[in-house]
């Protein structure tokens, strides 16, 4: 897929990939681009264009890795962006999925054990995901912010890779949830409700996947680089 450049029109970006809409919203950018380029709009909104491009291109192309841009913006920007994304999940994406699930439950018969199980399973998944997001918001991100401010590694400090390894694998349950529905749900539900729910799960899975790639491809790499830079100072 095409890699976007500063000179490209902002409108072409959304036309090429409408999934980017919530992404650019997180930068405070909204529809009504007129003929403005990415550069123009970033300037207006006081967004670092290299950072903006690194994000949208990572979403657009799986193999894209923003090597050049990597050093031109601070990971603190990235953390703000990731926090915004978490808020989007907590405040919009998850409530939407839940609404759709509630619709299904409201329109199916009383005696429907499989859907009750699906509903409990979803709750289980949600709890796990929220815990995961909380771990990043409250432990991992503050560590990174402090590291960039003090430029010092505290003795015995966990590295970013160690923080990452503490994560549970939240993708697993989401994929199980989809498979259970696709393969084993029994008739007796409303098709339209179920389709909407399943489509929302697919969309959310894709969002999370891209989100994780941004963390892995940009944030973790940036922070690891800094950690390695700081290590020899510690020894001395």
């Amino acid at each position: 897929m095409k890699i976007f450049k500063k000179e490209d029109k902002m409108s072409s970006l959304v036309s090429a990939n409408s999934n980017l809409l919530p992404v650019i919203n997180r930068f405070g950018i909204q529809l009504g681009f007129k003929e403005k380029t990415i550069q123009d709009i970033c300037k207006e909104k006081e967004v670092n264009p290299d950072f903006f491009l690194a994000i949208v291109n990572t979403y657009t192309d799986e193999n894209y890795f923003p090597e050049e841009e990597l050093l031109s913006f601070s990971p603190l920007l990235l953390i703000d962006y990731l926090k915004n994304t978490h808020n989007y999940y907590i405040g919009y994406a998850l409530p939407k999925i839940e609404r759709l699930l509630e619709n299904i439950m409201a329109n199916c018969g009383e005696n429907y054990p499989s859907l009750k199980m699906i509903s409990s399973f979803y709750q289980k998944y949600k709890t796990e995901l929220l815990l995961h997001l909380k771990h990043e918001d409250e432990k991992e991100f503050p560590y990174i912010v402090e590291l960039y401010k003090t430029r010092k590694l505290r003795p015995g400090q966990k590295s970013i890779t160690e923080y990452e390894n503490e994560h549970t694998d939240v993708e697993e349950k989401l994929s199980d949830l989809k498979n259970l529905l696709i393969k084993y749900v029994e008739p007796g539900y409303n098709h339209n409700d179920m389709n909407e729910f399943l489509q929302a799960l697919f969309q959310f899975e894709k969002d999370l996947y891209d989100h994780a790639r941004i963390e892995d491809a940009i944030l973790i790499k940036q922070v690891s680089m800094l950690e390695n830079e700081l290590k020899p100072n510690e020894v001395r």
């Binding site: 054990p113 199980m117 409990s120 399973f121 697993e172 498979n179 029994e186």
Partner: protein
């Protein structure tokens, strides 16, 4: 379990006669249909004992039969118009002929009821899982560790682990709670066996 009887036959005399005999001896819900395809409207029935009596040589629409069989205990009885004694033909569970006495009809219903109560509560199609793999899933869902499962099923831990690996590959479900939901959805366990609020 509710009982549904479908009498599907083009002859009104036969439909009404048979229905009358059945109603006299058994309190059963009887649906009379003149065309086989009309049974399609009932394909969504589940968790019932269903007896369909159809003209010998005819068969239920494949898709509907499959669905009814999956979600119910379905018995298909052939009704032949002649007195020939060729016996049970493939594709039917029981046979009956128009000259059967009241007593023979009663007996048949009793045999069917007995067979329905004997077989386990509806087992849906579990894909390609072996009986052993189903045993393992049931234990996983009940929260047993590999060691406990090995002891209970009299197999080695190594075997338990290899079963688990095969299950995950076959079903593409990885989490323990996902497998628990699978077990309920496929009638390997009843929802009352576990606490759904505490999915592992």
């Amino acid at each position: 379990m509710e009982e549904n009887v479908f009498i599907i036959h083009p002859s009104e005399i036969i439909r009404k006669g048979l229905a009358w005999i059945l109603q006299e001896y058994f309190k059963m819900e009887i649906t009379q249909l003149s065309a086989i395809s009309d049974v399609n409207s009932f394909a969504a029935i589940s968790n019932n004992l269903i007896i369909t009596i159809i003209q010998k040589g005819a068969s239920l629409p494949a898709e509907t039969e499959e669905r009814l069989r999956k979600n119910n205990q379905l018995f298909v009885v052939s009704l032949s118009a002649s007195t020939d004694k060729e016996g049970l033909v493939e594709g039917y569970d029981y046979d009956l002929n128009v000259l059967a006495s009241n007593l023979e009809i009663q007996k048949l219903i009793q045999v069917i009821r007995k067979s329905a109560s004997k077989s386990k509560p509806i087992m849906a199609d579990n894909g390609d899982l072996t009986q052993r793999e189903k045993d393992v899933i049931r234990q996983i869902a009940l929260g047993l560790s590999n060691k406990e499962m090995a002891d209970k099923l009299n197999i080695s831990i190594h075997t338990v682990i290899s079963h688990r690996k095969n299950i995950t590959e076959k079903l593409n479900i990885k989490s323990i709670s996902g497998l628990t939901v699978y077990a309920i959805m496929n009638n390997l366990l009843d929802i009352s066996d576990i606490n759904p609020e505490e999915l592992i």
